[in-house]
């Protein structure tokens, strides 16, 4: 995304090139243009732009992609953490309800 870059070297995205069937679905669904087709195979050209939304892995018919998908949202993680430890207060908020 133009003008915005997040932390480097943290994305959990993995592409297993031998499994790729070259359908181009990952290029179609990625909101951050992480992939490009080179010949009949997809390649990762910008792995650090990955926001781990999981769209590519979910839509890869060959299961060539793996990513620990989730939402990069600090308040969501804090709420989850409080909920897991059954700590009351603060709960109920959160941006996506």
């Amino acid at each position: 995304m133009k003008g915005f870059r997040y932390l480097q070297g943290v994305a959990t995205l993995e592409l297993s090139t031998p499994l790729c069937i070259g359908c181009g679905r990952c290029v179609e669904v990625c909101p951050h243009q992480v992939f490009r087709m080179e010949g009949k195979r997809a390649v990762m050209v910008d792995r650090d732009a990955c926001m781990e939304c999981g769209a590519c892995a979910l839509n890869c018919p060959a299961a060539a992609l793996k990513v620990d998908a989730g939402v990069g949202c600090a308040s969501g993680m804090i709420h989850e953490w409080l909920r897991e430890r059954k700590i009351p207060g603060f709960g109920g908020g959160g941006c996506c309800g």
């Binding site: 995304m1 943290v10 243009q33 839509n59 990069g72 993680m77 908020g93």
Partner: protein, 297 residues
């Protein structure tokens, strides 16, 4: 007030059996945006039950997902309404929908078309192909500005009692003037983290939201020092302010990661693992300094 549209198949204009089928969420704003964009055309609109949540958040939760899409195709009798087997989905819905599983289970081919509903007419006019610009996410100054009011309201719930507590404790120990100043300084740091950090996002240094927020907070504290008679604060209060206020701003700018469209779970986890102990340490240090200052003077 309800933000939901009943799920099901809707006609825009007078679509026939060959008209395109566009899929969206039943959040009223999503539905209205798509309908407005496609006004004057003949298109089928398949609205999924996402419980009034937008496409992106619903895809993350899985309600804008393979199961609901297949179910809605069957329930609406779409295969009898249209002769073709093609569905047009928003790109941001791909995090919840698995195109090849939809194909297996319903026979319909999924195409992820554009990022924004406004580009749908151009997409259709191009015969169902999108340009790189239509597939690109944007997050400009205005996009961020419109998020800030709701973020301020969400922040107010825990912040106002905290400000009251700061006021009461400071008043008991240092008197009314100091109490008002401390509570106001705290509220200012929250606003800096919630509003100024996100607005100045690309201008603030580093990629870390926590560091960006701390920078904004330090700038705010420096301004406060310059404009609110910092020289009269005394050593302990000055040091405490420069420790605590950036920590508060940092926390609230880090919270903005949930509003962006480019932060990853792993990245935010890393920031929290490194950042939260530093913020807690800074607040604890500030508290220690003002208490020690009080006892020694």
């Amino acid at each position: 007030m309800t933000f939901m549209v009943p799920p099901g198949l809707y006609a825009i204009g007078a679509p026939d059996s060959e008209a395109p089928v566009v899929v969206t969420a039943n959040y009223k704003m999503s539905y209205d945006l798509v309908r407005r964009a496609l006004c004057g055309r003949n298109v089928w609109l398949l609205v999924l039950e996402t419980y009034g949540i937008n496409v992106w958040c619903a895809a993350g939760k899985g309600t804008f997902g393979t199961g609901e899409l297949v179910h809605r195709i069957e329930k609406s009798g779409l295969d009898r309404v249209v002769g073709h087997r093609r569905l047009i989905l928003p790109i941001l819905g791909a995090a919840g929908v698995s195109a090849h599983r939809v194909k297996q289970r319903s026979g319909f081919d999924v195409t992820y078309a554009t990022m924004r509903a406004a580009d749908l007419p151009a997409y259709l006019d191009r015969g169902g192909s999108s340009t790189p610009a239509m597939r690109e996410l944007r997050f400009n100054w205005y996009d961020r500005l419109v998020l800030i009011p709701v973020e301020l309201v969400l922040a107010a719930k825990p912040v106002l009692p905290a400000a009251a507590l700061i006021y009461l404790v400071t008043r008991l120990v240092w008197g009314a003037d100091a109490a008002a100043a401390a509570a106001a300084a705290f509220l200012g740091a929250v606003c800096t983290g919630v509003a100024i950090g996100p607005l100045l996002l690309p201008l603030l240094p580093t990629r870390s939201f926590a560091v960006k927020g701390a920078f904004a907070g330090a700038l705010y504290c420096a301004l406060l020092y310059a404009l609110a008679g910092g020289v009269s604060w005394g050593g302990a209060a000055t040091l405490a302010a420069f420790l605590a206020l950036p920590a508060v701003s940092s926390f609230y700018t880090l919270n903005f990661t949930g509003c962006t469209t480019y932060t990853s779970k792993s990245g935010v986890k890393k920031e929290m693992r490194l950042g939260l102990p530093v913020m807690a340490g800074a607040l604890g240090g500030a508290l220690f300094i003002v208490m020690a200052g009080r006892l020694l003077v």
